[in-house]
């Protein structure tokens, strides 16, 4: 098996190259963040005197504390509601399969390909006439709707494989169905729901387009939207921009590294199903 061993060596080398290509940009970001604010350093160079204070300065300039609070508020508005109504609809389309459900389901599936840009201006107009422009609701309400195609697709894929005992039990009335949904179906669906929760959390956190168009105040935006504003303000001060970007990235990276197994499982499954 000489061939096999050589292949495994090539594989290892390739893996290491891939990791380096992934990580080096972050290293460059980090060492640049340590240079004196306002200077224009080169790619990767260790500063004569590292300016750790840049992180403090960026923390203050970006108002990190309030940014985190804002992003969490938006998450709270989006994720639980999306999970609840997405699971309910997934149950209806996967288990109950009422007459004519195919049309509604098809309309949702088509929405999987919808570029958010396509409804950007009407959303802006709609939020303005509802008086919600520049509030977090302007991000929360459309995001719930835009997440429905994937949430329903995902939850239906789960429910379609659950035996239809409960629904098939004759003469079940609405109240019983409601109870059996919450007491039996939802607990059984927990693995699918928690993966969906991770994906929705991440997509909300990283949502940029809706944040910059519908909300002017960076402190009412998502993390990604705030990062865009930070670049607008400090784009010319490279070390400070790098320090700020790293800070804004840190919560995501910490959460990811703790839950990386769940994240990558969810993202890989999510892509396959989407």
């Amino acid at each position: 098996m000489i061939l096999g061993r050589r292949e495994s060596l090539t594989g290892r080398v390739l893996l290491i190259i891939l990791m380096v290509v992934t990580l080096v940009p972050f290293v460059s970001l980090f060492v640049t963040a340590l240079h004196e604010s306002g200077t224009y350093p080169t790619g990767i160079s260790w500063p004569a005197r590292p300016h750790w204070g840049n992180f403090v300065e960026a923390f203050r300039a970006a108002d990190m504390g309030r940014l985190l609070a804002s992003s969490l508020l938006i998450e709270l508005g989006v994720v639980p509601v999306s999970l609840a109504i997405g699971t309910m609809a997934g149950f209806a389309f996967g288990q109950v399969r009422m007459r004519g459900y195919q049309f509604a389901y098809f309309a949702f599936v088509l929405g999987l390909t919808l570029p958010y840009e396509a409804i950007l201006y009407p959303l802006y107009y709609q939020m303005r006439s509802l008086g919600l422009l520049n509030t977090r609701w302007a991000i929360i309400l459309p995001l719930i709707a835009l997440f429905m195609p994937f949430s329903i697709f995902w939850m239906r894929a789960h429910f379609v494989n659950v035996p239809r005992d409960i629904v098939e039990a004759a003469r079940i009335d609405g109240a019983n169905m409601w109870q059996s949904f919450w007491r039996v179906q939802v607990p059984l669906a927990m693995p699918a729901i928690s993966s969906l929760a991770i994906l929705l959390f991440l997509w909300t956190w990283n949502q940029f387009l809706l944040a910059i168009v519908l909300v002017d105040d960076p402190l009412k935006r998502t993390m990604a939207g705030a990062l865009g504003a930070f670049q607008g303000h400090y784009g010319t001060d490279i070390p400070l921009l790098c320090a700020g970007s790293l800070l804004i990235l840190t919560p995501t990276l910490v959460v990811y590294l703790i839950f990386h197994r769940r994240f990558s499982t969810a993202l890989l499954q999510g892509a396959v199903k989407g």
Partner: protein, 288 residues
């Protein structure tokens, strides 16, 4: 009978949200696309004129062509490289190094695209790491401010997308490969197949579905790209990196040509469907 009604009640909240914040705005986009409108004053019905402009206006046409070119970087390169890498590391997929690599390779998929844009804007700047590396290899004469260069700005933006999507594609394809029965590989080896023939005879056909997924996700990312462009080039220099996503935003909110922006939005939706539907049809397993 009651069951049907209850079913619809279960679906009702989702349908209500979807209709209110996706379907109705979508119908408005369709409606606006037939008018000339600045978003404030009165509007004039112009029929399909805004759609005709998509082909006659050089900026609009260029934005669509740029999106098509980005498919090469966002889709073709990550999928091809991902296939190459995944089939090379297939045999060591269970090793500790591979487990560690999996965590690292996924990071670009977790961070916001905006962050990737900021990081790479710095790497590709005239003082950035890319030029530093080129100079170290004696290629100082090719160094430049990559994102400000008329010829290289679009490929540079493409490189950012490829960096973001390569890890996802590699891991997806690897996950597909580990599902292939090892005995098929043994049989291929016994028949004297080398790595190359093995790849084309065994791996590639078995991965049809995973490849379909990678292509779908990455093509949508290419055609609907916005975040990276917004951060790194804003469509410039000139229109060198203008894409439909950014053009829609710019037309609607800065040029106040809502009708034209809406026609481009409809065009973009159709373009995405034109790519995605055949891909889905070709790669889905015939069982549903």
């Amino acid at each position: 009978m009651a069951q049907h009604l209850v079913g619809w009640l279960f679906a009702a909240p989702a349908i209500a949200f979807y209709v209110a914040f996706v379907i109705i705005p979508l119908l408005h986009t369709l409606q606006y696309s037939l008018y000339r409108w600045d978003g404030i004053g009165p509007s004039t019905y112009v029929g399909l004129q805004n759609y005709a402009h998509l082909f006659s206006n050089s900026t609009l046409l260029k934005s669509i062509l740029n999106a098509l070119k980005l498919i090469v970087f966002f889709s073709v390169i990550p999928v091809a490289l991902g296939l190459l890498i995944a089939s090379t590391i297939r045999r060591i997929a269970a090793s500790r190094l591979a487990g560690f690599a999996r965590v690292i390779i996924f990071i670009p998929q977790v961070i916001p695209l905006v962050a990737a844009g900021i990081i790479w804007s710095w790497l590709l700047a005239s003082n950035g790491l890319v030029n530093q590396v080129l100079a170290a290899f004696g290629l100082k004469h090719v160094t430049r401010a990559w994102l400000g260069d008329f010829t290289f700005a679009l490929p540079s933006v493409g490189v950012i997308g490829a960096w973001v999507l390569l890890g996802l594609c590699t891991l997806l394809l690897l996950a597909g490969m580990t599902k292939i029965d090892p005995e098929i590989y043994e049989a291929a080896r016994l028949d004297g197949a080398g790595p190359v023939r093995e790849f084309f005879a065994v791996t590639l056909p078995a991965l049809r579905q995973e490849i379909g997924v990678c292509v779908t996700v990455t093509v949508i990312a290419a055609l609907a790209s916005f975040d990276i462009i917004y951060i790194s080039t804003q469509g410039g220099p000139g229109n060198a990196t203008m894409v439909p996503g950014y053009a829609i935003y710019y037309l609607a909110f800065f040029q106040r040509e809502v009708g034209q922006a809406s026609a481009l939005a409809v065009g973009l939706m159709i373009l995405v469907l034109l790519f995605i539907l055949p891909i889905q049809w070709l790669t889905r397993e015939r069982k549903r």
